[in-house]
Amino acid sequence: MDRSTHAMLAVTWFGLIGLMLVFYVVTDGFDLGVGILSLLRKRREDHDVMIQTIGHVWDANETWLVVLGGALFGAFPAAYAALLQDLYLPVMLLIAGLIMRGAAIEFRHSVSHGPIWDKVFGIGSLVAAISQGVILGKVITGLTPGPMNNAFVTVSAIGVVAGYSLLGSTYLLKKTVGNIEQWSRRLALLSASITVAAAVVLTAATWFISAVGHDRWTQPGVFHGLIALGSVSALAFAYLIGSLYLGSVRGPFRASVVLFVVSFAGLAISLFPNFVPGKVGIFESASDTSTLVFMLIGIGLIFPVMIGYNLYQYYIFRGKVVGGAHAGE
């Protein structure tokens, strides 16, 4: 009884942390994407508009990472310790990227050095996305080095950068008008193709190369679940392409979000019951029942409230951004 209660709580927390990860990846994903894309625009006025679309939400989006980190630390201390210790350099690189862009988004209002900070903002966003791709790739390959795994990590980094660009461009075409909207529509198509190509390569690599991955995927139930998710993502991709051609405003972003949610559901199914395949299991690394229950009361109850006021913030700043004055003034 006690054992199964603990297992149930551990699975619940694995699910909650997965949900936080999806919130983080989708929300910070689009604003990191906007940052990456800003590197491709030269005009300061374009930067103003692009950054204004995320000015009010980037901070809360990034906070999902902090919430996720705290939840992982409390619910699975051993996993938190093992992951961060083993991923020291990519985590530091991620922090570097986040510092650069977070500082730049406020400091860009500097009269004399504004354009330099715009560059820092873009590079910081790119660095953060690359390091997240590296972390993802390293986790899936069980934190073991090797030429095959390094190639996997590289593709994963490309996939994350392209995926965030997809979220960023579909968000931009929803929030802007004119030139930037048209340009975002074209870029969305390009980044969608790269994202899906990377996802296909990673899936094939897991199937053919990773013993742990292949084992997990051939387990009863898992295979069918993944086929279902694969079909949903194929539909989402088709919808994305269609809505881009038809000039839909909200459709492409929604389709991209579905693609991300499905990918992360697939990831969660593939990793379960581990954080790192063959290394860090969720049941061994979970805190005791008392902590898991106490955290569930403290965080689980507040979770809907957090989502509520985040949505409220999006609602307040709904609609398209027009005009070119400096955001935030």
Binding site: V67, F73, S287
Partner: protein
């Protein structure tokens, strides 16, 4: 590569990131609370001057908040990257509390700061006040949970150790651990004092320069009024917090007072006003002592026993004794100076019946307030040095030694990250001061009028003013 290298490097990195980070949240806490007060005054009096104050000071808050956010991210992840054994050992409670901080406090701040800063004219005045209040509440709740986590490291309670890690047996005891009430209140009032000294100091500078005297006299007086109460309360809290240290962490207490030999029963312990503690010789090289005073300070009784450092094996004594000894004196000295300055200025303002003209004539007094701007930061850093260095050699007092808490990582990686943080901090600090200087030079916009309160829906399109 020796483990001790990684240990020392990780300690250097943690100290550096913590010393840098704490400067920003203390101003966020107090400045956001001040803005709540200003907005309430505006809504109650309808005086547009308060609205202009809100717009003026919130620009400083934005700059400060941004550096606070980006410098806070490394703090949370460092526990895992550099202190993996500590995380494994105490995550069940410590990580849990950090999770609470993120979910209950940090998200609240982040979720409403957008509305607070960019929402003028898009939401009603009442909703705006609500958003500002949530930012202030979030930053104070954040301080609460962080101090719960830190005080638990000072005086761990409510847990047992099983299989090389702690298990929480009593949440109430762990959260309300002996140091918690003092830790939370002392830190929170320190944050309030910091903000009020920054507001009063910047206002005093403008008064000194005779720029917008009516405007800045108002913020000066509000900050002064808060300080007249906060400064003495802080001294009382500091004294009580000190009493708790002598009771629960006697080695730390003895170290910050350079007290080596336990006083005999019936005899009072002497207090050194100044001294130079010598850890090698296990005594003070020299000292200026007030006989019998330490028993009174530490135990509030005439002959109370105060344990001396020689009662503890050298391996259990805190390191860097002169640093501890003088950091404590710097903090306490600044605390007393603040109270005297606040009282004296309040007396002057009262004597002149609050006349702005007469206040402008107090040149030296105004200059004293300007020069005080860095002091609350010095006091807070000194206080944290006393708190954290004084806890050594333990990371969780009496349970886990710092040397057993460190990660297994390459020393070169830690060197690299230290270099990275150092570069960032230099750039962040310089840029902050340049932008803050521009803000100060531009001054408040006294032509600004509040957006008309709307009856219907807010505009659906972001338009630029």
């Amino acid at each position: 590569m020796h483990l001790s290298d990684v240990l020392d490097l990780s300690r250097i990195q943690f100290a550096m990131t913590a010393i840098f980070h704490i400067m920003w949240p203390i101003l966020t806490i107090s400045l956001s609370a001040f803005l709540v007060l200003i907005e309430v005054l505006w809504l109650r009096t309808g005086n547009v001057g308060y609205y202009r104050h809100a717009r003026f000071w919130s620009k400083l808050l934005v700059l400060n908040f941004a550096v606070g956010v980006v410098s806070g991210i490394p703090m949370e992840f460092q526990f895992g990257t550099n202190w993996a054994e500590f995380s494994r050992y105490s995550g069940q409670f410590f990580g849990n509390i950090l999770g609470f901080e993120g979910a209950m406090a940090f998200m609240l701040e982040a979720g409403f700061i957008g509305v607070m800063l960019l929402g003028w004219g898009r939401v009603s005045r009442a909703v705006h006040l609500f958003a500002t209040s949530m930012v202030a509440l979030g930053s104070s709740i954040s301080a609460f949970w962080i101090m719960v986590a830190n005080s638990w490291m000072q005086t761990p309670a409510g847990v047992t150790v099983e299989g090389g890690k702690i298990v929480v047996t009593d949440y109430a005891a762990a959260i309300f651990n002996p140091d918690m009430v003092w830790g939370v209140t002392h830190m929170w009032v320190a944050a309030i004092e910091t903000g009020m000294f920054v507001i009063a100091g910047i206002s005093a500078w403008n008064l000194f320069k005779r720029r917008n005297p009516e405007f800045f006299a108002r913020s000066f007086k509000i900050a002064l009024l808060v300080l007249v109460f906060a400064a003495p309360v802080q001294i009382w809290l500091g004294d009580s917090s000190g009493g708790s240290v002598f009771d629960k962490q006697p080695a730390k207490g003895a170290a910050i007072e350079g007290h080596w030999i336990t006083n005999r029963p019936g005899a009072a312990a002497s207090w050194s006003l100044l001294a130079w503690p010598d850890q090698k010789a296990q005594r003070n090289d020299w000292s200026i002592e007030i006989p019998g005073m330490l028993s009174i300070l530490a135990t509030h009784t005439l002959h109370g026993e105060v344990k001396g450092l020689t009662d503890f094996a050298p391996a259990d004594q805190p390191p860097m004794l002169p640093l501890l000894y003088y950091a404590f004196r710097v903090m306490a000295g600044i605390g007393f100076a603040f109270m005297l300055l606040a009282f004296w200025t309040a007396y002057v303002v009262r004597k002149t019946r609050g006349s702005v003209e007469r206040l402008l004539e107090q040149r030296k007094l105004l200059l004293a307030w300007v020069l005080c701007i860095p002091l609350p930061y010095v006091a807070v850093e000194a206080g944290w040095i006393v708190r954290e260095v004084g806890r050594q050699p333990w990371v969780v007092y009496g349970l886990l030694r710092t040397q057993d808490a460190v990660s297994t990582v390459a020393a070169s990686s830690v060197t690299l990250s230290i270099g990275m943080f150092l570069c960032f901090y230099v750039v962040l600090l310089i840029t902050f001061f340049v932008l803050a200087h521009n803000w100060l030079r531009t001054g408040p916009d006294l032509t600004l009028n509040p957006p008309a309160p709307f009856k219907t829906q807010p505009p659906a399109v972001v338009t630029k003013s």
